[in-house]
């Protein structure tokens, strides 16, 4: 029978010798705004190359998981490890602080936002080239080649010189995906990537993400309300509610034989049966 002490010892051992097959690891991550507890001591792992979709009611903290991984939010407490490097390590009572190691860890994470967030004063090509040139220090011809390749891959070879204002929402989101990909991240985060799109434009964006999911060995973590898409592309679906993981498993299981009443209720509400 495992005692509490040996459990603690096992956790400590795990954090000292990171398992190379684990890409993302949340340990005891807590986040609250005042009395609103968004994450309650979250423990959560994502394997390298795994495609994980997070589902759950709005305001349940799904997006906060992504935002903490992108360092757009700070945890109140807990550790987050990405690719073996410490992104966050906040002891109780400490002020969260970004370290050199955090910044290195962040380099391997990319993010696609609900509202695209393209730079409006740059063309599609410039949007994709900007960070590789200025942050990674790539030579312009090389960055240009990379950007053109990615924009062609998302079906925008004809729109290199267009500004965001001249593109549709679906096209803007595809530029945003190319922009994130240009940094060659190991982990890609998608925060409701189709929620701001007109219905007829959703398909083209999902198509691009589907292709990434099947062709790249990138780790993908996506918050989405597109249940059929989640079922189709993910290796694992995580049902999240009120700051905790309700259940987690293969998409067939979560969508067709959910083990929890909360999951059943949520799916019933969003799928309409």
């Amino acid at each position: 029978m495992p005692s509490i002490e040996s459990d603690v010892a096992a956790t400590a051992a795990r954090s000292v010798q990171p398992d190379p097959s684990v890409m993302i690891s949340f340990r005891g991550v807590t986040k609250s705004w005042g009395s609103n507890h968004v994450l309650r001591s979250l423990d959560f792992d994502v394997q390298a190359g795994e495609k994980v979709c997070i589902i759950g009611p709005s305001g349940s903290g799904k997006t906060t998981i992504l935002r903490i991984l992108m360092t757009l939010e700070t945890p109140n407490e807990g550790a987050v490890i990405v690719g073996g490097s410490r992104l966050w390590d906040v002891k109780p009572g400490d002020k969260p602080k970004l370290t050199r190691e955090s910044r290195d860890a962040r380099r391997s994470v990319g993010m696609v936002f609900q509202s695209f967030n393209l730079f409006p004063h740059m063309t599609a090509l410039e949007n994709v080239m900007e960070a590789p040139v200025r942050v990674l220090g790539l030579a312009k011809p090389e960055a240009r080649e990379r950007a053109e390749g990615l924009l062609a891959q998302v079906g925008l070879a004809q729109h290199l010189q267009h500004r965001p204002a001249q593109l549709s929402g679906g096209q803007q989101q595809r530029v945003a995906i190319a922009r994130a990909m240009a940094m060659r991240p190991k982990v890609m985060l998608f925060d409701e990537p189709t929620s701001a799109l007109d219905p007829e434009l959703i398909g083209e964006v999902l198509g691009v993400i589907r292709e990434m999911a099947t062709s790249a060995d990138m780790t993908m973590l996506m918050v989405t309300h597109e249940m059929r898409f989640a079922e189709e592309i993910s290796d694992r679906v995580v049902m999240f509610d009120k700051g905790v993981v309700v259940e987690s498993g293969p998409p067939q299981q979560i969508f067709h034989e959910p083990g929890h009443e909360r999951t059943r209720k949520f799916l019933g509400a969003v799928l309409g049966h």
Partner: protein, 219 residues
């Protein structure tokens, strides 16, 4: 006293000389206001302990006292402490510093109007703070505030008339000099008014053209 065209023509070269000095003061003052205001706005936004509040006080102090009082202070009071420059240099410095407090607020509004998503996208691309400012935030903020900065340019051009009080012989200073030596004010004041009006209108048109040129949704 009726209008004397011959007299008006005779003083025109003198007044045009004053106008030219006024324009030079405005350009030099605006360069100071644009650069200093930007520094003040960025430092305040960075929320550096002690330093940022000092810059905040600077903005409130400058905006809370009249330009004329500041000009008098700089010209008549500071020399007592060993800080003395020519009237022209003092005038340019005073008007530049005065307007920097206003441009700082304009920049601040421009920076605040850049959506949070733009800062977040820069973070997601691992762009350091300095790059985020120079490549993402400022290009958008500055475009947005060109019309407001333009208004201040025109206003500064007119406000520089105050500097005749510290013996700078710009346009208004020359009007005063001509008036007190010939006892004729009608012609110099009328001509000066027209010159101010013409330059203001032309500047406004130029600013509007620039504004259109910088608009992001231009296709």
């Amino acid at each position: 006293m009726s209008w004397d065209t011959a007299f008006a023509i005779s003083i025109l070269p003198e007044l045009l000389g004053g106008l030219w000095l006024t324009i030079q003061i405005t350009i030099a003052g605006m360069v100071i206001a644009l650069v200093l205001g930007l520094v003040v706005a960025i430092v305040r936004r960075l929320a550096i302990p002690i330093v940022s509040p000092i810059f905040g006080f600077y903005v409130h102090f400058v905006r809370g006292t009249p330009l004329l009082v500041q000009a008098y202070l700089a010209f008549f009071a500071l020399p007592a402490y060993g800080i003395a420059f020519s009237p022209l240099v003092t005038g340019i410095a005073v008007i530049g510093i005065n307007y920097s407090a206003y441009t700082a607020e304009v920049y601040r509004a421009g920076v605040e109007d850049v959506p949070r998503g733009q800062w977040e996208a820069a973070t997601a691309l691992s762009m350091p703070q300095a790059l985020t400012w120079t490549r993402v935030v400022l290009p958008q903020a500055l475009r947005a505030v060109v019309p407001m900065l333009g208004n201040y340019l025109v206003q500064m051009f007119k406000d520089s008339a105050v500097l005749f009080a510290i013996t700078v012989f710009e346009l208004m200073g020359r009007v005063q000099a001509i008036g007190s030596s010939t006892y004729r004010y009608l012609e110099p004041v009328t001509i000066a008014g027209l010159l101010y009006l013409i330059v203001s209108l032309v500047s406004s048109l130029l600013i509007r053209t620039l504004e259109r040129h910088l608009a992001l949704n231009r296709i």
